[in-house]
Amino acid sequence: MKKNTLYLAASATLGLMVSLLLAGCASGPTVAELDALTDRIVKASFRTQGIANVERVTATDETNRACSEADAIGKRLDEKTAKAIEEANFKSIRWPADGKFVGDWRQGEAIAQNGRGLTWTDDAKMANGGNCYNCHQMDKKEISYGTIGPSLYNFGKLRGVTDVNSPEAKAMLEYTWGKVWNAKAYNACSNMPRAGHMGILTEAQVRHVVGLLLDPQSPVNQ
């Protein structure tokens, strides 16, 4: 069988660019060849800038790799793979060291509003935002909210949290913490970032966001 030849050569006109030459193909490259070519194009196209290291795209983890692949072919992950990914992510959740799940909802609201941090124009020293309103409705007074994720208005109220210190609330506290810390622990290919796991939010920030979601005094639950 005649093999398709794929190779990359530096472009004569633009040094940064790479050119793809395909010789002698009738049928075009195979899926595996396209996957390999995509990897090479990614390596040649992206570079580290500021705090955004190139490894963020050349060395993604198994969760992202499996979900990207499934997305590209338009299929859901098979149940076994999904379970394994969820379990691995669940294991990585860091629970609050002092057992305190609920922080200050006011600070949580500020974090939820803030969409900044971790881009190549951001400073590593500044506190990152949680990006929550980009995708979710939360406080009803904020009309500028996204719809990529479900509405979180009345999140705690709808789940019957009337006292965050009560034993009945414990399970919901843990779930909410875990979901914010690592959403992929509950849904392998969730669109939601893994705020704690990926170091987007600190433990203290996650606590405030949980407060925003569960504190009966929080505007989310009014």
Partner: protein, 268 residues
């Protein structure tokens, strides 16, 4: 006596005298109204005019115009070129989008250093001129339908690579293009997000850029649009005219087949 003391008093009266029970407008209706008020007088026109001038003017080390530039439909043909890009170019033996092709022409015809332009940050020096040129070239295809070629093997290959890039999750937030543009009817904050894995319709998504951004008063070509998407995705920096950006553009452009171009548009 302060003559301005009564300034705020009539407010209550104003409210009371307002028309009885006007149904409350939703935020998105309000935004639509706002956009309609801006529709007439898009500052992109300023960049169109500049781009047309740059096309015709003798410039660069060779003191030549770009009027013999081949954007894919033959030397000097600019009408309709935009809605067929990116495409494969035999002379450079590579896939090129509008902006990278303009740089090739600026190098070949005018004698600029293309690599130098590619390295120049957006909004500076000759990059500004590339954006203005792209704005004008795009405006010359206004009202035409996107129709990218998928005949050449490289065009098909780049579509396939672009599709993989579209779904590639990465960065600190695990975002892919599809995180925001993979479902119909979603929005980020108040902005509607076009579904880009198929044709999002006339004048939406790929068919709207270059566009003037009101939020920062800048003219953005597709290269900068993609660059800033990647920035917000918390990805590393995609090189100007890099194969990743062109493969992704090919995927978006082919998906947009049949959509009417409104570029240059006016965006948030």
């Amino acid at each position: 006596m302060n003559i301005f003391a009564n300034w705020a008093v009539p407010l209550a009266l104003t409210l009371l005298s307002a028309l009885p029970v006007v149904a409350q407008k939703t935020a998105s209706q309000g935004i639509d109204e706002y956009r309609a008020m801006l529709a007439d007088g898009n500052p992109a026109e300023l960049f169109e005019a500049k781009g047309e001038d740059l096309w015709k003017k003798a410039r660069g080390p060779k003191n030549a115009s770009l009027e013999k530039c081949d954007l894919g439909k033959g030397p000097g043909v600019f009408k309709g070129a935009f809605v067929e890009l990116p495409r494969y170019f035999a002379d450079t033996q590579r896939m090129q989008d509008l902006e990278s092709r303009l740089v090739t022409c600026m190098e070949a015809l005018q004698g600029w250093d293309g690599a130098e332009i590619a390295k120049t940050p957006f909004g500076q020096g000759e990059q500004n001129n590339v954006t203005a040129l792209a704005t004008w070239i795009a405006s010359e295809s206004k009202g035409q339908r996107f129709n990218l070629s998928q005949n050449h093997l490289q065009e098909k290959t780049f579509y396939e690579v672009g599709k993989r890039l579209f779904y590639q999750r990465g960065g600190t937030h695990d975002f892919s293009c599809a995180s925001c543009h993979g479902e119909e009817g979603k929005r980020i904050r108040l902005q509607d997000l076009p579904l880009l894995s198929k044709s999002p319709g006339d004048g939406v998504g790929f068919a709207a850029w270059p566009a003037y951004r009101v939020s920062n008063g800048q003219m953005w070509g597709m290269q900068l649009r993609l660059n800033d998407c990647y920035r917000q995705q918390r990805f590393p920096y995609p090189g100007f005219g890099s194969d990743a950006t062109i493969a992704l553009s090919t995927y978006l452009g082919v998906n947009a087949k049949g959509a009417v171009s409104v570029a240059p548009a006016l965006k948030r």
